[in-house]
Amino acid sequence: MEETKVHEIRVKKETARMEPLETLSRPDAQPTKAHPKPSPAPQQPPLAAAGSKRKRNLPGTPDPEAEVIALSPTTLMATNRFVCEICNKGFQRDQNLQLHRRGHNLPWKLRQRSSKEIRKRVYICPEPSCVHHDPSRALGDLTGIKKHFCRKHGEKKWKCDKCSKRYAVQSDWKAHSKTCGTREYRCDCGTLFSRRDSFITHRAFCDALAEDSARVSAAGKRIGSGSDMSSSDMVVQVIGPAAASTMSVIGGGGAAAAAPSSPHTNNLGAAAVRLQGIPNHALQEYDVPQAPRPLSSSGLLLPMVSSGSTTGSLFAHLFSSAGTSMPGFHATSAASMGMGISGFSDFTTGVNQTERSSATASLSLSSAAGLSSCSSSVYNDGVGNVPSMSMLFNQQQLQHHHTATAQMSATALLQKAAQMGATASNSSSMLRGFGFGGGDSSSMSLWQGQRQEPARVVSQGMGPSLLPVGLGGGGSTRAEDGSDRFTHDFLGVGGANGMAAAAGGMGRTLSQCDLASITSLGPGVDLGAFFTQRENLRSVGASGHSPGKSWDSS
């Protein structure tokens, strides 16, 4: 089979050669005809039906029926290959030549081009050592062979001004300079990529990832600063699939030189360095601190890569947040950010304090580092209280530290208030919990001293009246909270003078106690009810939350 096929090819080619070839070059050039060697055609795409898209062969695998043309180097590089036979004017393209010929007013017969069927032409490279010198590896496009010849065997005359790359073909050079420097991706291992997909693929297998992630997980939490870029036109690229590594993005001026130089340093340290050293450049650090992710995620990466391009670009662009930058943000608060980081580290509730202190020590932020190192030293020593001055000092700092870490989040406060309110709701709705809430010894001690007096006073049994009883109206004593709305009582009991006094200089003083009394008033102000009602509204499935007093809206 093979033989016959080859034979056919040869035949076809030979018949093709019978007809005189048109010389496409200037008369002085010597086109040589190559004898096409019979060769089995490598996989060819099937001949497409007429009218569909023009079939393209794989590069370097020419159509066996095509005509092979070999041009000399000069011919190849010649610019005006189409020459008008009448006036000998040269043109780069055949179409231009035809247009020109029209202008000569040729008689009809001569005007038509010789009506041969168009035969596909393939060209071989004149350089003998080149792969494409072989007709079986000829290239199908004249422009293509010219470019190839220039690229491979030509002199590189065009140079990119941003980087040092040189090009022989002007179009290559143009294309490169468009993208040079516009998009850069840098892996942590220091490799630079201009293409997103290669970057992503690289990162999937980059060894540095594994190392870094291990270090990162040890370093504990970090602040993710989602700041946007400076106004340079570099597009910030971020994490495709979030493997556990930090990705530092190069800002406009490449001042983040510190970053690539130490890809394996502690991320937090690096982050701080960058923050400090580069206040005016946007930085984005994204980090995944969770420990068990690194290796598994890289396994995940591959399937994600395919979707990564679309999804990643979504990410990327959102993070690049085109629009006004906030250089001021960085400039003014770079310091505070730095402080903030370390300060934040101090206040992180109980996570990896030791690592954190070592991390912060690497930040040259003295106060915070001092504080944390002190605290860590105390921690390390256990709570054993060596009665030395320094230890006492540390203890105090620890104390301060401790109270600082005890700063509750607002949501936690609300929950606590709700709990206290709920427990109080069963009793006479007094927010006794508040007293308890402050119930650490340190705070209560302040109040303990005062306790004797209220006992006496309370026994007087002043009810939850609204007015300063001491001033005037005896105030109706109520054993319990009245169900009166205080609006009624307000003007009722005690009269105006009481209120006047209240509104006057006593205003502040009264208010605390007013608060006490008021909050005890009526079902409407029942804090516990406030929260339980909300709970009821919120989720039916709340586990075992007994509704407190029902609360009707005011």
């Binding site: 999804t311 700063q407 508040f434 809430g437």
Partner: protein, 435 residues
């Protein structure tokens, strides 16, 4: 006895109920008199006591004050409101811990509410304090870049659109709040690398601000040109309530996608004539039905996940308190306390929302956030069917959250909708629908 009380600790007499539980509290209340006995006029000694409060106690005290004040305001009780507000001003702080900050804005809202009962006074007071567009824009910028919420919204919308528009050659995207091109820039990027090549994209932006529309349009056109995507931007300068469907110029055969990022809840304000629940002919339903007539392939709705549209002030107050406490907590874990951008963000974005929720009523109150359940019902009654958010969407959201080192953000996936929470408080929810 009374005499002694009078000169020394007059407030003692107000220690209310007899139960033992009150003692501790009254002892608390004893404290100021102890200090302020020197000067019954209040002042620095008061501060001293208050400053001695630890943050936790202060926070609890703040909550208590806020609630009591809200109650007082709801009862139109000026005097007590005043008293509570005075206390609040001492404790609240713009640059303190989250509870203090939240308290500041709620306190301001309550005061505004009271002042609004004299509209002339209110307007005169605020005549020099118009919130500038610049501030709002910068606040939004900060919000976008620092917090994941907007990014979550945009990512989810974009991914849902991408999923629904797979294989479509012509995509018509209607943005109900076309104020920020960032979202669509990302979508353009994603579309340009789509396997089948980018579709012919038309974006119709609806907004009430012409200038914004123009800018957005220009920005998007430039980007589309760079990416070589056939693109048209069509600005529609109209109010959403009176949206004329013809203005949108949807052509037959186009695949329509609608994006609404926190743009539906203001429509509820027009329903204030009716009770919020039963309004069937209200503006929101009309708009939804209109949109349904376009037969969109996907409509993504992202809204704040909280119930700030209750009929009573207290109900709204408490819900809002929980919501914004969580929000401010999340800010606290991302930005340092003294950061001015944080203050800007809190003030111009959240402060305004809080003020609106607390102080305004009727058509003025536009921040009528509602929970996903309610939105679901509305969408369903308008004829939409839910589209389950795909796995890539969920993954994207998860990846986004991983970028943020603080782990307070949680993603809840329920019934095909995604909810972004801070700790356990849901903050934003996203759902997708189709006609």
């Amino acid at each position: 006895m009374p005499g002694m009380i009078r000169e020394d600790t007059p407030s003692l007499s107000l220690s209310s109920s007899v139960s033992a539980s009150t003692q501790s509290f009254s002892s608390l209340s004893n404290l100021p008199p102890h200090h302020s006995a020197l000067s019954s006029v209040n002042g620095p000694t008061q501060h001293l006591w208050l400053q001695e409060l630890r943050s936790e106690e202060r926070g609890l005290y703040l909550i208590q004050l806020l609630l009591s004040c809200a109650n007082a305001v709801a009862c139109n009780n000026m005097e007590y409101s005043n008293v509570f507000l005075e206390q609040l001003t001492l404790l609240a702080s713009l640059t303190g811990d989250p509870m203090q900050r939240v308290a500041t804005y709620f306190m301001e809202g309550l005061a505004a509410r009271i002042t609004k009962s004299w509209p002339g006074v209110y307007r005169a007071l605020n005549s020099t304090q118009l919130p500038s567009i610049v501030d709002m824009l910068s606040a939004r910028q900060v919000f976008f870049s620092v917090c994941p919420y907007l990014k979550f919204a945009f990512l989810t919308v974009n991914q849902a659109i991408l999923d629904a528009m797979e294989g479509e050659k012509v995509v018509h995207l209607i943005d109900l709040e076309a104020s920020d091109p960032v979202q669509w820039l990302a979508l353009l990027q994603a579309l340009s690398v789509r396997p089948g090549g980018p579709p012919h994209l038309r974006i119709t932006g609806v907004s009430e601000r012409r200038a914004v529309l123009e800018q957005t349009g220009q920005r998007l056109s430039i980007e589309a040109e760079k990416l070589d995507i056939p693109f048209q931007f069509h600005p529609v300068h109209a109010q959403l309530e009176n949206l004329d469907i013809e203005l949108l110029r949807v052509k037959t055969g186009e695949a329509v996608a609608i994006s609404s990022v926190m743009r539906l809840h203001p429509l509820l304000a027009k329903d204030s004539r009716f009770t919020a629940h039963e309004a069937s002919g209200g503006a929101i339903d009309q708009v939804l039905r209109t949109l349904r007539c376009l037969s969109p392939k996907v409509m993504v709705v992202v809204e704040q996940e909280s119930s700030h549209n209750g009929p009573t002030l207290l109900e709204r107050f408490i819900e809002a308190l929980h919501y914004y406490c969580a929000m401010f907590d999340s800010l606290d874990s991302t930005l340092p306390q003294q950061c001015p951008e944080r203050v800007t963000l809190e003030k111009h974005l959240f402060g305004q929302e809080i003020k609106n929720i607390v102080a305004c009523e009727g058509v003025e109150r536009v921040e009528r956030h509602e929970k996903l359940e309610k939105w679901r019902k509305r969408m369903e009654s308008a004829g939409f069917q839910m589209l389950v958010l795909s796995q890539p969407t969920v993954l994207q959201a998860k990846r986004l959250l991983h970028c943020y080192a603080c782990d307070g953000y949680r993603l809840l996936e329920k019934d095909g909708c995604l909810t972004l929470c801070w700790q356990d408080t849901p903050l934003y929810s996203a759902s997708a629908w189709h006609a």
